[in-house]
């Protein structure tokens, strides 16, 4: 299921909340948790029930390993089950996510012809894999004794964070499920939760998805883009992924709050960053935390000399790249960030002396360019996009600028003052959106440390945002095909 769908907003969310708090009220706490688990499984298996087999077997194996480790006294035994658990998790994600990529490369490298399996990728497998690996490692360290099976299952399947994070640590969420003060409906949390959810939905459905149209159009026929168009496509993706991910993190946090659960902050205005190191402290913070805790530090971090530090950094970023997707483009993206990170570490003192605006421009520019690899379907397309930026020539075609003509824009275009503007500058809507993008990522406060004031204005605004996004869930396509 998706947050931005009728069934989630109008059916799933209300029922989940009502029955959850009803159980809590009746002091039936086990039932409250089971209810959340059941709803989370419905959420997860909605589009494809066979996903449930994957996640449930993964949970079973991981819990079993952790159970044994918690009761074992032999270090050797613990290590064995630690290894089993991690291998299983990696094996599972390898099979579903990376098998075809692996085979394609073998075929390309050795001229062989092994068949691809075209597995359907279970949603969120990257997230619940990392989440469970962290649990297994912490079990090895003796930090997870005392959690029941129900607590564990809820921890992994909890629907606000199941599909796209944040990557939650057991210690930050399981105690919350057992915290008495959270069992009653808390209107402060509800109010904040509703507000953040509304803002998150708006960012995703109205802003990110609108930029997405320009991006899809651009990457569909890279070779035909003009220079300006290529630059706009690059910028548009930079904004699309920002508002998409930021929106999603907001929605997850907001929904968590409705249930009185505090999910960790995952996003902190990352485009305000003035260095790559700072960027990764603001972008997908729980991923950075996971990589640091479970890969970087175990590898030695920066405690084994300069060269080893850089190697460790590269390993972390290459894994991060690969984790995002099974394609060389992701690996290149990860590698680029790794190199930038190493350079940032090496020249930190010099960098800190550079003018703040220059720092920002350089960081933002780098992030933009790296995103091209992240989004492109192939390395060739990414390079072609860069080429087009240099040699594409000027101008913006009408079809290009018409990509952002969502119904609101079409409506604006018909109004008296605006139609003249559109007539004079056909791409004015596009520029408007880009400017809005910059303001959004640089100026606005994020939803993290909100102290929301309860006023009529805010309440109405929240309602308007909710309604506006809900009626945007469905589009009307215009069929432009004109055949014989």
């Amino acid at each position: 299921m998706l947050f931005n769908s009728y069934i989630f907003m109008l059916v799933f969310l209300p029922i989940t909340l009502v029955i959850y708090f009803a159980f809590r009220n009746m002091e039936k706490h086990i039932w409250a948790k089971i209810w959340l688990i059941a709803m989370s499984l419905w959420f997860y298996g909605y589009y494809n029930p066979s996903y449930l087999l994957v996640i449930l077997s993964s949970i079973a194996v991981n819990y079993a390993c952790s159970y044994v480790m918690n009761r074992s006294r032999s270090d050797k035994n613990k290590r064995l089950f630690l290894l089993c658990g991690i291998l299983f998790d990696i094996g599972l994600i390898f099979y579903f996510k990376y098998f075809d990529f692996f085979i394609e490369n073998i075929n390309a490298g050795f001229g062989s012809d092994y068949a691809l399996r075209n597995m359907v990728l279970p949603l969120g497998i990257s997230f619940f894999t990392f989440q469970q690996i962290s649990f297994i490692v912490d079990s090895y360290r003796g930090e997870t004794a005392g959690y029941s099976l129900i607590d564990y299952v809820l921890f992994v399947t909890f629907f606000p964070q199941l599909i796209a994070g944040p990557i939650v640590l057991h210690s930050e969420i399981i105690p919350q499920f057992n915290n008495k003060t959270k069992f009653q409906v808390n209107y402060d949390n509800m109010a904040e939760g509703l507000y953040i959810l509304a803002v998150g939905l708006f960012k995703k459905v109205l802003i990110a998805d609108t930029f997405g149209r320009v991006v899809s159009y651009g990457y569909f026929s890279v070779a035909n883009l003009s220079s300006l168009e290529a630059v706009i496509v690059m910028l548009s993706y930079t904004f699309q992924i920002y508002f998409d991910f930021s929106g999603y993190c907001d929605m997850a946090r907001g929904i968590g709050l409705l249930l009185n659960i505090d999910l960790p902050v995952n996003f902190n205005s990352p485009y305000k960053a003035k260095s790559i190191i700072e960027f990764w402290d603001r972008w997908h913070m729980t991923l950075t935390r996971f990589l640091r805790t479970y890969i970087y530090f175990p590898l030695g971090g920066n405690r084994k000399g300069k060269i080893r530090t850089y190697v460790n950094v590269m390993v972390v970023f290459l894994i991060s790249g690969l984790w995002h997707g099974a394609n060389w483009t992701f690996i290149v993206w990860g590698g680029l960030h790794g190199i930038a990170n190493c350079l940032n570490k090496r020249f930190k003192n010099n960098w800190d002396k550079v003018n703040g605006i220059v720092q920002w421009v350089a960081t933002f520019l780098f992030v933009n360019l790296a995103w091209v690899f992240f989004r492109a379907d192939s390395i060739r397309d990414a390079i072609m996009m860069f080429r087009r930026m240099l040699v594409g020539g000027g101008g913006i075609s009408t079809t290009f600028s018409n990509q952002i003509m969502i119904p609101e824009m079409l409506f604006l275009k018909q109004l008296p003052g605006f139609n003249m503007m559109f007539a004079k500058i056909p791409s004015v809507g596009l520029w408007f959106l880009l400017i809005l993008g910059f303001i959004g990522v640089l100026k606005f406060k994020n939803c993290n440390n909100l102290k929301i004031t309860y006023t009529w204005r805010k309440a109405l605004m929240t309602g308007v945002l909710l309604v506006w996004t809900i009626v945007s869930f469905s589009e009307v396509s215009i069929f432009l095909y004109f055949g014989f």
Partner: protein, 353 residues
């Protein structure tokens, strides 16, 4: 304000506005999903895949004109006065045989009054797979076509459709009238016609020195396509008269065929179709492909296949009086005539000034 009040306000505002939106859309119903157009409102009708289904289910009519862009320029007013009927026009541009047949079947099942169906048999689609899917089909509004009320939420809570309601209201206020079927998706006046216009975007295929034969496999494909997507409906509705016609593509279409050695093939496909269709008593079959004056006069066309509305008008008149009708007695002569003409025509003369 207390947070509890805040939550209440948000909840109430959201629910009230959403219900309001659904009511507006349900009452105005710009896609006729629930009911006929309201008498007090003027509706803009311009979106085939979204509005045809509603038209077919809720309007009053006893005659249907359908198919592709080949039929979009028909005028129902002319049809009504010639045939003494009450017709609607519900074309689907770019549709394959199966999509049109689906729509036709909905109409025939729901409306027992239907007595005539006008439908073109387009040359370019006769030999397609019977279950072919159209590009962009994943965006198809299935919720308008099925009997599932739950997914109507896609219609009732839809911003674009809400805007359409606003458009229709504004349109009414400015004194507009509901789009007539003469006007509906009629693009005739939007284009220029004539040789220069047609040749502008036409790419003459390179001459191939081969003759393409109609293979048994292809013949079977044609046969399956015609049976599943045309004949079955004819058989199941013996009380309805089906006026079927081969639309007159321009001489440039035949030039392309000739360049690629496909004339013989196309006529073979046409033979297969004619022979099948003529076995039905409730079919009146027509072809204007042997109206060589029409076909060779590029002033009638805006591109290699699309003719202006005056041709549609003429076709209606010919069909009324039975001119250009194909019967089991004359179709062999007809096929011989067109094969002879289109194989031997001096196509190069088209390109000379």
């Amino acid at each position: 304000m207390e947070s509890k009040k805040f939550v209440k306000i948000v909840g109430i505002v959201t629910i009230v506005v959403l219900i309001g939106c659904s009511l507006i859309i349900a009452v105005i119903d710009p896609y006729f999903h629930f009911h006929k157009p309201l008498d007090s409102l003027a509706y803009i009708i311009d979106n085939e895949r979204y509005q045809n289904n509603g038209i077919v289910r809720n309007f009053d009519y006893d005659t249907i004109i359908t198919r592709t862009s080949m039929t979009e320029n028909f005028k129902t007013s002319e049809c009504d006065s010639l045939f003494g009927c009450n017709s609607i026009k519900v074309p689907l541009n770019g549709a394959h045989f199966n999509e049109v047949d689906r729509q036709l079947n909905v109409a025939l099942k729901l409306n027992p009054d239907i007595k005539i169906v006008f439908r073109s048999i387009d040359y370019s689609m006769m030999d397609e797979d019977k279950d072919i899917k159209r590009l962009g089909e994943e965006n198809f509004p299935t919720y308008l076509y099925d009997d599932n009320y739950a997914n109507d939420v896609n219609y009732l809570l839809n911003k674009t459709i809400l805007f359409k309601c606003g458009e229709d209201i504004l349109y009414t206020a400015k004194g507009g009238t509901t789009t007539t079927f003469d006007e509906y998706v009629n693009w005739s006046n939007a284009y220029c016609y004539g040789k220069e216009e047609v040749l502008k975007d036409f790419e003459r295929p390179v001459r191939k020195n081969e003759i393409v034969e109609l293979s048994e496999e292809k013949r079977q494909m044609v046969s399956d396509n015609i049976y599943q997507n045309v004949e079955k409906t004819i058989e199941e509705n013996p009380e309805v008269t089906f006026y079927l016609f081969f639309p007159p593509y321009s001489i440039l279409f035949w030039d392309s065929c000739n360049q690629e050695g496909m004339v013989h093939y196309r006529i073979g496909v046409e033979r297969e179709v004619i022979e099948r269709l003529l076995t039905h008593e409730n079919v009146r079959l027509f072809s204007f492909t042997n109206n060589f004056d029409l076909v060779c006069n590029l002033d009638n066309y805006k591109d290699a296949g699309h003719y202006g509305e005056w041709i549609n008008s003429e076709m209606l008149q010919w069909m009324k009086v039975g001119e250009y009708e194909l019967t089991s007695d004359n179709y062999e002569d007809y096929l011989e005539e067109i094969e002879d003409f289109y194989l031997n025509y001096d196509y190069d003369s088209i390109y000379e000034e």
